[in-house]
Structure formats: C-alpha cells, structure tokens
C-alpha cells in the first residue's frame, strides 16, 4: 500500500515532505519507521526520536496504517 509522508525540520533533509512511500499492507507505524531506516540508515537516530501523528492525533508505534493515509513524522521539538 502507499502512504504519504509529511516531514519537518531536519528530517526533511532525509525524506522530502509529501513523498509517497510504498510499504506492506497492514503495516504498523513501527513497521514504517523500520522501513524508513532501511531506506536511509543515516536517519535512524532522528527517526527513533520521532513522534507520529495521523489526523492531528499523536499515535503509538503499534497503530496500524490504512492505505493512502497521511503520516506526519514529528522530530524532537525546538520551539520557544
């Protein structure tokens, strides 16, 4: 299935925001993170520190992804 990935801040250096990613059906957020690490191993540290949001809600890494879902990867904040 295909999902759309939205990224922010330094994570955009590894994964452009709005990119479509193909992963196996019934994948979880954890599966997606591992898949992204496989694509860009140098992003592993920041990926492990990310929260994930879907439909403006933070979801757990066990959350199952639907096809065509928009996934927002939230790297550690640096506001203020």
């Amino acid at each position: 299935m295909t999902i759309t990935l939205h990224t922010f801040a330094s994570l955009k250096d590894y994964f452009p925001s709005g990119e479509e990613i193909s992963i196996q059906n019934a994948a979880s957020v954890q599966d997606l993170i591992e898949h992204l690490k496989g694509l860009r191993p140098e992003a592993s540290t920041i990926l492990d520190a990310c929260r994930v949001a879907i439909a403006e809600q933070i979801v757990s890494y066990q959350f199952k992804l639907d096809a065509d879902v928009e996934v927002f990867l939230i790297p550690p904040s640096s506001g203020g």
């Binding site: 939205h6 922010f8 801040a9 330094s10 929260r51 994930v52 949001a53 403006e56 933070i58 757990s60 890494y61 927002f72 939230i74 790297p75 550690p76 904040s77 640096s78 506001g79 203020g80």
Partner: protein, 147 residues
C-alpha cells in the same frame, strides 16, 4: 485567539486580553530571540510549525495549567516564520489570585510547549551559516513523551 501567530506579537495587546477582575497576579513571560548561541553570533531565527497539531497541543497545555493551578486566565502564543533579534518568539501570560500559582503555571506552560509542541527553530548566523536548533533541554523534570 490563535495560539500560533504569523505576525509580530504585541505584548501590550496580549496583556490587555489577559486581565481578570479576580486576578491579583499577572505573570508575563516573553521568550525573545537573542543574538548569540553556542559561541556564534545569531542574525535571526525562523520557526517552522505543524500548525493544526501545535494549536491543539498548546491549547491543551494551557487548559491543563488553568485546571492544575486554579488560574483565572492563561494565554500562550508562538510566532512562526522569521523572528529578528529581541522580538518575541513566544509569550505566556498567567493570571491567578495570588502570585505563587501564576509563576508556577507560567513555567509549567513554557516548559511543556517547548518540549511537546510541534515547532522547530532554525538559527541563521552572521557568518552566513544556518542550522536546525537542537532539542530543548528544559524538560528534565517532565515525563518522557510517549510513543
């Protein structure tokens, strides 16, 4: 009032909105852009935000602070986009009957917003370089974010 602002934050205007007849204490924190960081001269900062979630999270933090500290009013607004030196990047105003709660709640709100809200700053230095800022280090007393 939005918790995210695309335009400069007017602190006097924010104070006007914050007064409450039951409040004997009004505490205002203005997080401003300084001209130095890690030994380098800073020209300005630029903030990126995931606005829908940031709005929601900031409001939840403010609402929680009102409940936790028994505040009469609380406001938090964060700038996005380019913010020059000495301008306000984030403002927190807390109002309570007595000063103890206003001070504690103000710290609570800014610490949580810095730690949790999906907002990121990029530092632009006078030598022409720029980089994304590192994570805030103000949250050692806060719970780790759940994943």
């Amino acid at each position: 009032m939005s918790n995210i602002s695309q335009s400069p934050i007017d602190l006097c205007q924010m104070m006007q909105k914050a007064h409450h007849p039951k409040a004997g204490a009004v505490v205002l924190f203005s997080g401003e852009v300084r001209n130095h960081n890690a030994g380098k001269s800073v020209s300005y900062l630029e903030y990126e935000v995931y606005a829908p979630l940031a709005e929601k999270m900031i409001q939840e933090i403010v609402d929680r602070a009102i409940e936790k500290f028994g505040l009469h009013r609380a406001i938090c607004q964060h700038r996005v986009g380019k913010v020059p030196i000495s301008e306000t990047a984030v403002v927190v105003i807390t109002c309570s009957s007595h000063r103890s709660e206003a001070y504690e709640a103000n710290r609570y709100i800014i610490d949580r917003v810095k730690h949790e809200a999906p907002i990121w700053k990029r530092e632009y230095f006078e030598d022409g370089s720029s980089e994304w800022a590192h994570n805030c280090s103000c949250h050692t007393h806060l719970e780790p974010l759940k994943k």
